[in-house]
């Protein structure tokens, strides 16, 4: 009888356990609180491709797989943790020798980017002696890039006003850059003298996501690909003193998986949109002229991914270059972008930055740890907006910051 009871109790316990399984798992964070997930409307096959890209993004490269021999990080996900903005420990350093208007990126010395890490037994790179200018760049968040990639150039040009003809003090201009060897122009691109509008990168120096992926694989991780077969070397050791791993170290399909992953990441979600302070903050944002550059709304063109076609999205950027003044002048020109010019950074996802980058590290180099500091450093075309912000009441400032945190 005693044994029978024990069997019944055990059976009931296991049955309860099985039923309770779903309840014992930790709950998923709210969709609006994470920088992960796909754009709405993907097919099952596309979702699967996204997951393949996700795995590629998280792949840890080792020396045996071609890492380096010099590098900044060993994985995409180590800089873009949780798809968010980077941490100061993973900033990249770009360098050059600038002499007046002449800029030498010291390609023959290992430029334009410093790889301060190295595989075991190899010498990490240090700044060449000729360097007189260098700049630090924090990794950007990668959410919603597919929407930006699907914009028609005309949508970007619609906000350009390089001569400030409307007299609002803002003179955004597109950065026309020479295309990479693997660039294939699409209907959305408008060429001028063989150059195309850059829309990615701190200075809008990349036309396509693929450009950035190939560049980062090589310059950040030291991984050659079908699109760029030349390995990195420490020029102090000599050219071809490399990692002895056959090139390319990443296939075209690997690169394409990364690109697909980034194209299909959802736009950063909004939170507390209907909160009274948030709504008031958005009004202040517009009233003091922030929205002149941080344009809230765009609509995509036709895309090969149906879910990206004709979609309205809210990046809070115009993807144009602006003179940001002395405080943000990093003395490092890039392409046609002057050293004091920066592409308006999209503000979407900024409210989730703190929970993905281990603190709040803002601006291109992560030097600012509060929204107030960032705004106070705005100069050049944005000087009048900074002044307007500083003139706000404390309550209005708080509303504005609350709005930014809702993005």
């Amino acid at each position: 009888m005693k044994n029978k009871s024990l069997v019944i109790i055990t059976f009931l316990f296991l049955l309860f356990t099985a039923i309770a399984c779903e309840k014992i798992l930790p709950p998923a964070p709210a969709d609006e609180d994470v920088l992960a997930g796909t754009i709405p409307g993907l097919t099952a096959q596309q979702e699967k491709e996204h997951l393949i890209g996700d795995a590629a993004f998280a792949k840890i490269f080792t020396a045996a797989e071609g890492l380096g021999p010099i590098f900044v990080q060993n994985s995409c996900s180590n800089c873009h943790v949780g798809n968010g903005k980077g941490h100061p420990s993973t900033v990249v350093t770009r360098y050059a020798h600038v002499n007046g208007s002449k800029v030498d990126y010291l390609l023959s010395k290992g430029g334009p980017q410093l790889q301060q890490k190295s595989i075991d037994g190899y010498l990490a790179e240090s700044l060449p002696s000729e360097v007189n200018v260098f700049t630090k760049r924090l990794a950007p968040a990668i959410m919603g890039l597919g929407y930006i990639a699907a914009l028609h150039d005309q949508s970007i040009l619609a906000n350009a006003d390089s001569l400030d003809l409307n007299g609002d003090g803002i003179s955004g201009r597109p950065n026309y850059v020479g295309p990479t060897s693997f660039f294939i122009a699409q209907d959305i691109h408008i060429a001028i003298n063989g150059h195309y509008i850059g829309r990615f990168g701190k200075k809008a120096e990349k036309v396509m996501i693929q450009d950035q992926v190939v560049f980062a694989l090589k310059q950040d991780i030291g991984i050659t690909s079908d699109f760029d077969m030349e390995d990195l070397y420490n020029y102090e050791l000599g050219v071809y003193a490399g990692d002895n791993i056959a090139d390319p170290e990443a296939s075209a399909s690997f690169v394409n998986s990364l690109v697909f992953y980034m194209r299909t990441l959802k736009a950063p979600p909004r939170r507390n949109e209907s909160d009274a302070d948030v709504m008031a903050g958005e009004k202040v944002f517009t009233q003091i002229g922030c929205a002149s550059c941080h344009v809230s709304t765009f609509t995509t063109s036709e895309s090969d991914i149906a879910a990206l076609s004709n979609q309205t999205f809210h990046p809070y950027s115009d993807f144009l270059l602006h003179d940001m003044g002395v405080s943000l002048d990093d003395k490092y020109p890039e392409g046609s972008a002057n050293s004091n010019e920066w592409r308006t950074p999209p503000l979407w996802g900024i409210g989730l930055a703190e929970a993905s980058q281990g603190g709040l590290f803002l601006l291109h180099d992560g030097r600012a740890t509060s929204f107030e500091t960032v705004i106070a450093l705005h100069g050049g075309e944005a000087a009048s907006r900074r002044a307007a912000f500083l003139a706000l009441s404390e309550a209005e400032k708080a509303q504005l910051i609350k709005f930014l945190k809702s993005l």
């Binding site: 044994n3 296991l14 014992i24 798992l25 930790p26 998923a28 080792t62 943790v81």
Partner: protein, 405 residues
């Protein structure tokens, strides 16, 4: 090799079945002396067949689990974690041989974890040579599944210290008995780790990643021996404590006689303890620290220092007959464990580096006999990433068994 091993596995049960069962005898375990962690390898439930000079034993572990992280689960899994075979023989009165062969996750990993000869020169001086288990911590040598009330091995013993860690080497060990006390020591020189400990897909400093070197049974990557030593003291009433250290060089600093790098050290230190309170509650634990001399070009996720610990509490709830198992036991158990894979702060921000995990594991175990345990565990993890972002939460149920045979 794989087919040979499978033949052995298939052959022995067939042989045993063909024999009169009285020919298969269990080797009586030595209970007259204080058994310490370093003794458990020889103090297992071996079987001998007839007059065969070889005793055989082993254990297997399997479980099912339903785990999820931040609301995402891949559903149920059934896991055949390991199947281990022991072979031992007493070559002469003072010469013994023991081997341990482990199959993990089916035949995904086949490891020769121990294959060594022991030559007794004096009770306090024994020579051991072959593939030996480095005596770092207690779990590394005392890791048989049926001895533990938890399905997962302790994190600090497997991801800070790389249990089961074995290497080719020689050394000495011995024991001294006085009344209720025994003092044991072990000191070995073995092959060491390689640079995989700081270049691996674990994305962190990992001694466990340094075990995968296929050349480790032939050469020490650094060309220098790794030293592992342990001193342990046991009192019949109060339990056992152990202090151990493992010191070596992991990088290839010399190639073809040319010095190409500085010698970079790897060291591990451990303190272990076990005690039984009022002949009832057992408390077992281990604290481990690992230090690695990193090259200046290392990525920040590879930490120069790691540490971890675990404490297991096992409280018998019932002893007696259950389902006609005469000497069965039902235990409540609880494990607390923590591992910090990257101790320190970021140079750039002075902020603390994350990459740590805290786990609690309450559970029950049912031991129908001394050699078999059924376990039901509930695990809950809080795991921080490198940047110390809000932790990922993982939890789930595990049910499984482990048994000697």
């Amino acid at each position: 090799m794989r087919y040979l091993l499978l033949s052995i596995i298939l052959f022995f049960p067939a042989l045993m079945k063909a024999q009169d069962s009285t020919l298969i005898k269990r080797v009586p375990q030595d209970t007259s002396r204080l058994i310490m962690n370093s003794d458990v390898m020889y103090n297992r439930p071996f079987l001998i067949i007839g007059k065969s000079p070889i005793a055989i034993g082993g254990y297997l572990e399997a479980n099912t689990q339903y785990m999820g992280t931040d609301g995402v689960t891949d559903g149920f899994s059934f896991q055949f974690r390991r199947f281990t075979l022991f072979f031992s023989s007493t070559i002469s009165k003072r010469i013994k041989f023991l081997s341990e062969l482990e199959f993990e996750e089916g035949t995904k990993e086949i490891n020769l974890e121990f294959a060594a000869m022991d030559l007794e020169l004096h009770p306090f001086l024994n020579f051991r040579g072959g593939v030996i288990m480095n005596p770092i911590g207690a779990f590394n040598q005392n890791h048989d599944g049926p001895r533990w009330d938890f399905i997962d091995r302790p994190l600090s013993a497997t991801t800070i210290l790389p249990s089961t860690l074995s290497n080719v080497g020689f050394g000495v060990h011995g024991k001294y008995f006085a009344h209720n006390l025994s003092l044991a020591y072990e000191l070995y020189l073995t092959n060491g780790f390689d640079a995989n400990i700081i270049d691996n897909t674990d994305n962190r400093t990992s001694l466990a990643a340094g075990k995968s070197n296929p050349e480790k049974f032939e050469e020490s990557n650094s060309g220098l021996p790794m030293t592992t030593g342990k001193v342990a003291l046991k009192h019949r009433k109060y339990g056992e404590i152990g202090l151990s250290a493992m010191l070596g060089v992991y990088n290839k600093w010399k190639l073809d006689g040319v010095v190409i790098d500085k010698q970079r050290s790897v060291s591990a230190y451990a303190f272990d303890f076990s005690t039984t309170i009022a002949n009832q509650t057992t408390i077992t634990g281990e604290i481990a620290v690992v230090e690695v001399d990193l090259p200046s070009g290392s990525a920040p996720q590879y930490g120069a220092q790691q540490w971890g610990c675990f404490v297991d509490l096992v409280q018998p709830l019932y002893k007696g007959s259950v389902l006609n198992f005469e000497k069965s036991k039902i235990n409540a158990c609880f494990r607390f464990e923590y591992a910090d894979y990257n101790v320190g702060t970021f140079t750039e921000t002075s902020g603390a580096i994350g990459d740590d995990i805290l786990t609690i594991v309450p559970g029950f175990s049912f031991r129908p006999s001394g050699q078999t345990v059924l376990r039901l565990n509930y695990r809950y993890h809080w795991q921080h990433d490198l940047l110390l972002n809000p932790p990922a939460l993982t939890s789930g149920l595990q049910f499984g068994f482990s048994t000697y045979f």
